[in-house]
Protein backbone atom coordinates (compact mmCIF):
# COMPACT_ATOMS: atom_id res chain seq x y z
CA UNK A 1 0.00 0.00 0.00
CA UNK A 2 1.33 3.42 -0.95
CA UNK A 3 1.37 5.69 2.07
CA UNK A 4 2.75 9.23 2.05
CA UNK A 5 3.27 11.41 5.08
CA UNK A 6 3.77 15.12 4.42
CA UNK A 7 4.80 17.53 7.13
CA UNK A 8 6.06 21.02 7.79
CA UNK A 9 8.59 21.65 10.55
CA UNK A 10 6.61 24.65 11.78
CA UNK A 11 4.03 22.38 13.40
CA UNK A 12 5.10 20.38 16.40
CA UNK A 13 2.75 17.45 15.93
CA UNK A 14 4.35 15.63 13.02
CA UNK A 15 6.42 13.12 14.98
CA UNK A 16 3.43 12.04 16.98
CA UNK A 17 1.31 11.84 13.83
CA UNK A 18 3.90 9.70 12.05
CA UNK A 19 4.16 7.36 15.02
CA UNK A 20 0.37 7.09 15.09
CA UNK A 21 0.27 6.33 11.38
CA UNK A 22 2.90 3.61 11.69
CA UNK A 23 1.07 2.07 14.63
CA UNK A 24 -2.20 1.91 12.67
CA UNK A 25 -0.47 0.40 9.65
CA UNK A 26 1.08 -2.26 11.84
CA UNK A 27 -2.25 -3.02 13.51
CA UNK A 28 -3.88 -3.31 10.10
CA UNK A 29 -1.19 -5.69 8.89
CA UNK A 30 0.09 -3.23 6.31
CA UNK A 31 3.78 -2.96 5.54
CA UNK A 32 4.71 0.11 7.57
CA UNK A 33 6.85 1.66 4.88
CA UNK A 34 5.89 5.27 4.57
CA UNK A 35 7.20 7.87 2.20
CA UNK A 36 7.99 10.83 4.41
CA UNK A 37 8.05 14.21 2.68
CA UNK A 38 9.18 17.39 4.35
CA UNK A 39 7.48 20.44 2.89
CA UNK A 40 9.62 23.53 3.36
CA UNK A 41 8.42 26.20 0.99
CA UNK A 42 5.20 27.62 -0.42
CA UNK A 43 6.33 26.25 -3.77
CA UNK A 44 6.67 22.77 -2.21
CA UNK A 45 3.19 23.21 -0.75
CA UNK A 46 1.70 23.96 -4.16
CA UNK A 47 3.58 21.10 -5.81
CA UNK A 48 2.40 18.58 -3.23
CA UNK A 49 -1.11 20.12 -2.92
CA UNK A 50 -0.29 20.41 0.73
CA UNK A 51 -3.12 21.89 2.80
CA UNK A 52 -1.35 21.70 6.13
CA UNK A 53 0.82 19.68 8.44
CA UNK A 54 0.51 16.82 8.89
CA UNK A 55 -1.14 15.39 5.79
CA UNK A 56 -1.44 11.65 5.23
CA UNK A 57 -2.17 10.15 1.84
CA UNK A 58 -3.16 6.51 1.52
CA UNK A 59 -3.00 5.39 -2.10
CA UNK A 60 -3.01 9.09 -2.94
CA UNK A 61 -6.18 9.81 -0.98
CA UNK A 62 -6.16 12.18 1.95
CA UNK A 63 -7.28 10.50 5.18
CA UNK A 64 -9.50 13.53 5.78
CA UNK A 65 -10.11 15.27 2.46
CA UNK A 66 -10.21 19.07 2.66
CA UNK A 67 -11.63 20.22 -0.67
CA UNK A 68 -11.01 23.86 -1.45
CA UNK A 69 -8.41 24.34 1.27
CA UNK A 70 -5.50 26.50 0.10
CA UNK A 71 -2.10 24.96 -0.44
CA UNK A 72 0.24 26.53 2.11
CA UNK A 73 2.59 26.08 5.02
CA UNK A 74 0.28 25.85 7.98
CA UNK A 75 -0.81 23.54 10.75
CA UNK A 76 -3.79 21.48 9.84
CA UNK A 77 -7.04 21.30 11.80
CA UNK A 78 -8.76 17.92 11.84
CA UNK A 79 -12.38 17.61 12.88
CA UNK A 80 -12.63 14.51 15.02
CA UNK A 81 -15.56 12.13 15.17
CA UNK A 82 -17.03 13.94 18.17
CA UNK A 83 -16.66 17.37 16.56
CA UNK A 84 -13.58 18.43 18.47
CA UNK A 85 -10.71 20.07 16.59
CA UNK A 86 -7.31 18.44 16.72
CA UNK A 87 -3.97 19.12 15.06
CA UNK A 88 -3.73 15.37 14.37
CA UNK A 89 -5.98 12.94 12.56
CA UNK A 90 -7.44 10.40 14.93
CA UNK A 91 -6.49 6.73 14.92
CA UNK A 92 -9.96 5.95 13.60
CA UNK A 93 -9.62 8.41 10.71
CA UNK A 94 -6.32 6.86 9.66
CA UNK A 95 -7.65 3.34 10.12
CA UNK A 96 -10.74 4.07 8.03
CA UNK A 97 -8.59 5.44 5.21
CA UNK A 98 -6.39 2.33 5.25
CA UNK A 99 -9.43 0.07 5.15
CA UNK A 100 -11.00 2.07 2.31
CA UNK A 101 -7.82 1.75 0.29
CA UNK A 102 -7.60 -1.95 0.99
CA UNK A 103 -11.22 -2.50 0.03
CA UNK A 104 -10.75 -0.53 -3.17
CA UNK A 105 -7.76 -2.66 -4.09
CA UNK A 106 -9.57 -5.89 -3.36
CA UNK A 107 -12.73 -4.93 -5.22
CA UNK A 108 -12.54 -5.77 -8.92
CA UNK A 109 -13.08 -2.82 -11.24
CA UNK A 110 -15.61 -4.72 -13.28
Amino acid sequence: MRVTFLYWEGCPSHEEALARLRRVLEEEGVEPSVEVVRVDTEEDARRWKFVGSPTILVEGEDVAPAPGAPYRLTCRAYVLEDGRISPLPSVDQIRAAVRRARAARETPNR
Partner: protein, 186 residues
Protein backbone atom coordinates in the same frame (compact mmCIF):
# COMPACT_ATOMS: atom_id res chain seq x y z
CA UNK B 1 12.80 31.37 24.19
CA UNK B 2 10.60 34.14 25.59
CA UNK B 3 12.10 37.52 26.42
CA UNK B 4 10.14 37.69 29.66
CA UNK B 5 11.64 35.28 32.17
CA UNK B 6 10.13 33.92 35.35
CA UNK B 7 10.38 36.70 37.92
CA UNK B 8 10.49 39.47 35.31
CA UNK B 9 7.86 42.22 35.29
CA UNK B 10 5.08 42.25 32.73
CA UNK B 11 5.66 44.48 29.72
CA UNK B 12 2.90 47.08 29.45
CA UNK B 13 0.76 47.22 26.32
CA UNK B 14 -2.37 48.81 24.99
CA UNK B 15 -4.23 47.09 22.18
CA UNK B 16 -7.62 47.23 20.48
CA UNK B 17 -10.08 44.55 21.46
CA UNK B 18 -12.83 42.85 19.50
CA UNK B 19 -15.30 44.61 21.82
CA UNK B 20 -14.40 47.97 20.25
CA UNK B 21 -12.43 49.14 23.28
CA UNK B 22 -8.72 49.59 23.90
CA UNK B 23 -7.33 47.40 26.65
CA UNK B 24 -4.16 48.13 28.57
CA UNK B 25 -2.45 45.87 31.03
CA UNK B 26 -2.69 48.75 33.48
CA UNK B 27 -6.51 48.68 33.23
CA UNK B 28 -6.42 45.43 35.21
CA UNK B 29 -4.19 46.57 38.06
CA UNK B 30 -6.78 45.53 40.66
CA UNK B 31 -6.71 41.86 39.58
CA UNK B 32 -4.97 39.20 41.62
CA UNK B 33 -3.37 37.71 38.54
CA UNK B 34 -3.26 38.47 34.84
CA UNK B 35 -2.81 35.78 32.21
CA UNK B 36 -1.52 36.94 28.84
CA UNK B 37 -2.06 34.36 26.12
CA UNK B 38 -0.77 34.72 22.58
CA UNK B 39 -3.37 33.11 20.39
CA UNK B 40 -5.06 33.38 17.00
CA UNK B 41 -8.02 32.06 15.03
CA UNK B 42 -6.59 29.62 12.54
CA UNK B 43 -4.29 27.45 14.62
CA UNK B 44 -5.64 23.97 15.38
CA UNK B 45 -3.82 23.92 18.71
CA UNK B 46 -5.68 27.04 19.76
CA UNK B 47 -8.92 25.56 18.51
CA UNK B 48 -8.24 22.39 20.47
CA UNK B 49 -7.57 24.37 23.65
CA UNK B 50 -9.89 27.38 23.38
CA UNK B 51 -12.85 25.85 25.20
CA UNK B 52 -10.46 25.20 28.08
CA UNK B 53 -9.32 28.82 27.96
CA UNK B 54 -12.93 29.92 28.32
CA UNK B 55 -13.54 27.42 31.12
CA UNK B 56 -10.44 28.45 33.07
CA UNK B 57 -11.27 32.14 32.79
CA UNK B 58 -14.82 31.38 33.95
CA UNK B 59 -13.59 29.34 36.91
CA UNK B 60 -10.98 31.86 38.06
CA UNK B 61 -12.67 35.19 37.31
CA UNK B 62 -14.40 35.23 40.71
CA UNK B 63 -10.96 34.91 42.31
CA UNK B 64 -9.60 37.94 40.50
CA UNK B 65 -7.90 36.33 37.52
CA UNK B 66 -8.01 38.20 34.22
CA UNK B 67 -7.12 36.71 30.87
CA UNK B 68 -5.89 39.00 28.09
CA UNK B 69 -5.71 37.05 24.85
CA UNK B 70 -3.69 38.53 21.99
CA UNK B 71 -3.49 37.64 18.33
CA UNK B 72 -0.32 38.89 16.66
CA UNK B 73 -0.55 36.92 13.43
CA UNK B 74 -0.20 38.61 10.06
CA UNK B 75 -3.68 38.60 8.52
CA UNK B 76 -2.27 39.19 5.06
CA UNK B 77 -0.82 35.68 5.09
CA UNK B 78 -3.63 34.23 7.21
CA UNK B 79 -6.88 36.06 6.43
CA UNK B 80 -8.74 33.99 9.02
CA UNK B 81 -6.70 35.87 11.64
CA UNK B 82 -7.99 39.29 10.56
CA UNK B 83 -9.55 41.59 13.15
CA UNK B 84 -13.02 41.03 11.66
CA UNK B 85 -12.60 37.28 11.86
CA UNK B 86 -11.34 37.64 15.43
CA UNK B 87 -14.60 39.40 16.28
CA UNK B 88 -16.55 36.53 14.75
CA UNK B 89 -14.56 33.91 16.62
CA UNK B 90 -14.97 35.65 19.95
CA UNK B 91 -18.71 35.79 19.40
CA UNK B 92 -19.04 32.21 18.18
CA UNK B 93 -17.00 30.71 21.00
CA UNK B 94 -18.31 32.97 23.74
CA UNK B 95 -14.93 34.38 24.67
CA UNK B 96 -15.21 35.72 28.21
CA UNK B 97 -11.95 37.69 28.03
CA UNK B 98 -10.66 40.57 25.92
CA UNK B 99 -9.39 39.33 22.56
CA UNK B 100 -6.82 41.84 21.37
CA UNK B 101 -5.22 42.53 18.02
CA UNK B 102 -1.47 43.15 18.02
CA UNK B 103 -1.38 44.44 14.48
CA UNK B 104 2.21 45.69 14.59
CA UNK B 105 3.35 42.51 16.35
CA UNK B 106 5.26 44.71 18.79
CA UNK B 107 3.76 43.05 21.84
CA UNK B 108 4.57 39.53 20.67
CA UNK B 109 8.12 40.63 19.87
CA UNK B 110 8.50 42.37 23.21
CA UNK B 111 7.40 39.25 25.06
CA UNK B 112 9.39 36.99 22.77
CA UNK B 113 6.32 34.87 22.13
CA UNK B 114 6.78 32.25 19.43
CA UNK B 115 3.71 30.02 19.48
CA UNK B 116 -0.06 30.05 19.69
CA UNK B 117 -1.21 29.39 22.30
CA UNK B 118 1.56 30.58 24.59
CA UNK B 119 0.72 31.48 28.17
CA UNK B 120 2.30 34.03 30.54
CA UNK B 121 0.92 34.12 34.11
CA UNK B 122 1.64 37.25 36.16
CA UNK B 123 1.06 37.51 39.88
CA UNK B 124 -0.34 40.40 41.94
CA UNK B 125 2.91 42.31 41.52
CA UNK B 126 2.82 41.52 37.80
CA UNK B 127 5.86 39.31 37.95
CA UNK B 128 5.96 36.31 35.64
CA UNK B 129 5.26 33.10 37.55
CA UNK B 130 4.46 30.67 34.75
CA UNK B 131 5.21 30.50 31.05
CA UNK B 132 4.29 27.77 28.60
CA UNK B 133 1.41 25.52 27.66
CA UNK B 134 -2.11 25.41 29.07
CA UNK B 135 -1.85 21.75 29.97
CA UNK B 136 -0.15 18.61 28.73
CA UNK B 137 -2.76 17.28 26.30
CA UNK B 138 -4.03 19.46 23.47
CA UNK B 139 -5.85 16.59 21.92
CA UNK B 140 -8.00 15.22 24.69
CA UNK B 141 -9.18 17.30 27.65
CA UNK B 142 -10.03 14.10 29.52
CA UNK B 143 -6.49 12.84 29.07
CA UNK B 144 -4.82 15.80 30.76
CA UNK B 145 -2.44 14.79 33.55
CA UNK B 146 -0.87 18.15 34.29
CA UNK B 147 -3.08 21.21 34.32
CA UNK B 148 -0.17 23.65 34.17
CA UNK B 149 -2.18 26.85 33.92
CA UNK B 150 -4.70 25.92 36.61
CA UNK B 151 -1.91 24.72 38.89
CA UNK B 152 0.03 27.94 38.35
CA UNK B 153 -3.05 30.02 39.13
CA UNK B 154 -3.73 28.06 42.32
CA UNK B 155 -0.16 28.68 43.43
CA UNK B 156 -0.16 32.36 42.52
CA UNK B 157 -3.49 32.96 44.27
CA UNK B 158 -2.08 31.25 47.36
CA UNK B 159 1.01 33.46 47.22
CA UNK B 160 3.25 30.52 46.37
CA UNK B 161 5.59 29.64 43.55
CA UNK B 162 4.06 27.29 40.99
CA UNK B 163 5.58 23.84 41.15
CA UNK B 164 6.09 24.05 37.39
CA UNK B 165 7.06 27.52 36.24
CA UNK B 166 8.06 26.77 32.66
CA UNK B 167 6.92 24.30 29.99
CA UNK B 168 7.54 24.36 26.24
CA UNK B 169 4.66 26.17 24.52
CA UNK B 170 3.03 23.79 22.06
CA UNK B 171 1.30 25.21 19.03
CA UNK B 172 1.59 26.95 15.71
CA UNK B 173 4.33 29.49 15.12
CA UNK B 174 3.31 33.13 15.24
CA UNK B 175 2.95 34.30 11.65
CA UNK B 176 5.33 37.23 11.37
CA UNK B 177 4.93 39.87 8.73
CA UNK B 178 7.25 39.48 5.80
CA UNK B 179 8.14 43.18 5.88
CA UNK B 180 8.21 45.63 8.74
CA UNK B 181 5.05 47.66 8.87
CA UNK B 182 4.08 50.71 10.80
CA UNK B 183 0.94 50.63 12.85
CA UNK B 184 -2.24 51.74 11.16
CA UNK B 185 -3.29 55.18 12.24
CA UNK B 186 -6.74 54.28 13.47
Amino acid sequence: MANVKVGDPAIPFRLPGVDGREHALEDYRDREAVVVIFSCNHCPYVRAWEDRMVAIQRDYAPRGVQFLVISSNDPLQYPEDSFDRMKERAREKGYNFPYLFDETQEVARAYGAQRTPEVFVFDRQRRLRYHGAIDDNYEDPRGVRHHYLREALEAVLAGKEPQTSETPPVGCTIKWRREPASRASS
